[in-house]
């Protein structure tokens, strides 16, 4: 059984990987273009803020640290994000879910394997670009922080998968889930510290955000990658993420169960 699951996982993962490599233009622009544009814009924006304020450090972050911050923020976000919006809702809208229902395997299992194929390239990019950053700036991510950060990224990714999959499953009822998916991403951008580090937020807002899963998806993994936290904090963050995974899993199962009961399989 375990061997079967490993083989099934490998094949699902490889099929999605081959799919991603089928369009090389899309691959290269998505793979490298977006990262350089995002990090470049963020860096120059903060540089002008630093210059106009005449400071060398803000909220404990030096200007050169911002490169690492946004590099990890972007690649953690992309790794966690997996496929584009529609990775489940399109199956529901266009009836491809039918084939997954007929297969004698778990739908969630195949979807996670293909989800990870999307994450794979961004995680590879994270390794390469962090190594490059260390080579250029010296004071960068050490091996222990990178390992702990990677473990947290796995937990965060599964948590995000369950949250976004639950939203995608709303397609059983709603005719379009695009705006909901965008809303989720916006919450992550703002509440997860993707656009601005959470240390820049007013204390009350930042305190409130920690009651949501968003800081644990981006900001806290960034801090662990940057070596800004203790081992105890690493365990605490992962324990909280596991709690959110538990809640998200229950929601996912519930929505899947209810949605299936009114699925029409497209058309009558």
């Amino acid at each position: 059984m375990i061997k079967h699951n490993i083989n099934l996982f490998n094949q699902s993962f490889l099929v999605e990987l081959r799919k991603l490599l089928a369009y090389r233009w899309e691959f290269w622009t998505g793979f490298l273009g977006q990262t350089f544009i995002f990090v470049g814009i963020s860096y120059f924006l903060w540089k002008s803020i630093f210059l106009s304020n005449g400071v060398t450090e803000m909220h404990g972050i030096a200007l050169t640290d911002f490169i690492l911050y946004y590099l990890t923020a972007h690649l953690i976000f992309k790794t966690m994000l997996g496929p584009n919006i529609g990775f489940i809702s399109h199956d529901i809208y266009y009836g491809t879910l039918n084939k997954f229902i007929v297969y004698p395997v778990s739908f969630q299992f195949i979807k996670i394997a293909s989800y990870l194929a999307h994450s794979f390239f961004y995680y590879a990019q994270l390794i390469i670009l962090i190594s490059l950053h260390k080579l250029l700036f010296g004071n960068s991510v050490d091996l222990i922080s990178f390992s702990l950060g990677s473990l947290t990224l796995i937990t965060a990714s599964y948590c995000y998968f369950l949250i976004s999959a639950s939203i995608e499953l709303i397609a059983f009822w709603a005719e379009n889930i695009w705006s909901l998916a965008i809303l989720l991403r916006s919450f992550i951008h703002i509440g997860g510290g993707y656009l601005i580090p959470l240390s820049f937020y007013p204390e009350k807002i930042s305190h409130f955000l920690y009651y949501t899963p968003f800081p644990y998806l981006i900001y806290e993994p960034i801090q662990i990658f940057r070596g800004q936290t203790s081992l105890e904090h690493f365990f605490l963050i992962n324990a909280i993420l596991l709690g959110w995974i538990f809640i998200a899993y229950i929601v996912f199962r519930l929505v899947w169960y209810r949605g299936n009961r009114q699925f029409t399989g497209v058309g009558i």
Binding site: L14, K19, Y23, V102, Q262
Partner: protein
């Protein structure tokens, strides 16, 4: 064996009034109605049997197939396929089941078919030996072995259906649901798919439920058909019987001069008000009981200048069309 008893399925469908006002109203309140897609359907299919499901669009054929394959849940009724309840989605059942929906692809569009087959091998836990044996058998039978490495999106519609068939049959299913497998195919591809299915059935003997709008598919592959109209089965029995019931009818086909078209239309409406008539330009078809054909032909020849006259048996598609239209039970 497939056993269906008193199966009902209704769908909740929303209606939006037309125009901008209707769209604005629908933002706050929607009107729903219930459509009965299946109404008290009962049938039984024996091991090795092939049943043709025939009906107009929206009659309930696909809904029945979806329930039997476990994709959707029924509103009420009992179903047992190979002893399993399909919508419980037991893996032991799903391993023995196959479904082709002619309008929906199951293969990964951007990849060569063989890549999808490798994934299906793991999904169905097919041994290496059986996998390669089936690949050889199916690709040779369907004459598609040269297209295994071409991305599916680059294949012609006929080739795509062939690789879809391969994907469906790789795991030697015991029950096969074929929902319009020849839809959109050219005549040659339709024939190839049909003859493959006939050969496959002969060799492997699975239960097959076939829906198709092409009567030739049904006629060549099925001995038994079930006619569905508005969610109810109005005929379930041998295809020969339904044909025989209608063999008392014949059709007179002929052509008239363009100048006579109006006159002959009036003549036929007055003389044969109850009989089915078809007018395409100057080509006319009149359906009559066998014993009336001689008299009618004589009258037509007396009153009009008739060309290309022939008398034919009603073909099966017409028989079924009539059956569905007139709801004879």
């Amino acid at each position: 064996m497939i056993k269906v008893e008193n199966l009902c399925k209704s769908f909740k469908i929303y209606q939006k009034p037309p125009g901008l006002k209707g769209s604005l109203k629908a933002l706050f309140k929607r009107d729903y109605f219930y459509k009965n897609a299946l109404d008290n359907v009962s049938l039984q299919v024996e091991p090795g049997e092939i049943l043709g499901l025939v009906g107009a669009n929206g009659a309930g054929k696909t809904t029945l197939v979806k329930i039997l394959s476990g994709i959707i849940y029924p509103t009420s009724g009992e179903v047992s396929v190979l002893g399993y309840n399909p919508w419980k989605r037991d893996n032991r059942y799903r391993k023995q089941l196959s479904l082709i929906m002619g309008q929906k692809a199951q293969l990964w569009w951007d990849l060569p078919a063989f890549d999808s087959f490798l994934l299906l091998k793991e999904i169905y836990q097919i041994s290496d030996k059986n996998f390669y044996k089936n690949i050889d058998y199916l690709s040779n039978s369907l004459n598609i072995s040269h297209q295994m490495k071409t991305p599916v999106r680059k294949l012609s519609l006929g080739e795509r259906m062939k690789v879809e068939l391969m994907a469906t049959l790789l795991h030697d299913p015991k029950v096969i649901f074929l929902d319009e497998p020849t839809i959109g195919l050219d005549l040659m591809s339709q024939r190839a798919v049909r003859s493959f299915l006939a050969q496959y059935r002969k060799e492997k003997n699975p239960i097959i439920i076939l829906t198709s709008h092409y009567m030739q598919d049904i006629e060549e592959l099925c001995r038994r058909i079930a006619l569905i109209k508005n969610g109810s089965i109005i005929y379930d029995g041998p295809i020969d019987k339904i044909h025989k019931d209608y063999s008392q009818f014949q059709s007179i086909n002929f052509e008239v001069l363009d100048s006579d078209i109006g006159r002959i239309q009036n003549f036929l409406i007055q003389k044969f008000p109850e009989n089915e008539k078809e007018f395409i330009d100057n080509k006319i078809k009149l359906r009559l009981k066998k014993e009336l054909v001689g008299e009618a032909t004589k009258e037509l020849l007396e009153h009009f200048s008739i060309d290309n006259l022939s008398i034919n048996q009603i073909d099966i598609s017409k028989v079924i069309e009539n059956y569905l239209q007139h709801d004879q039970t």
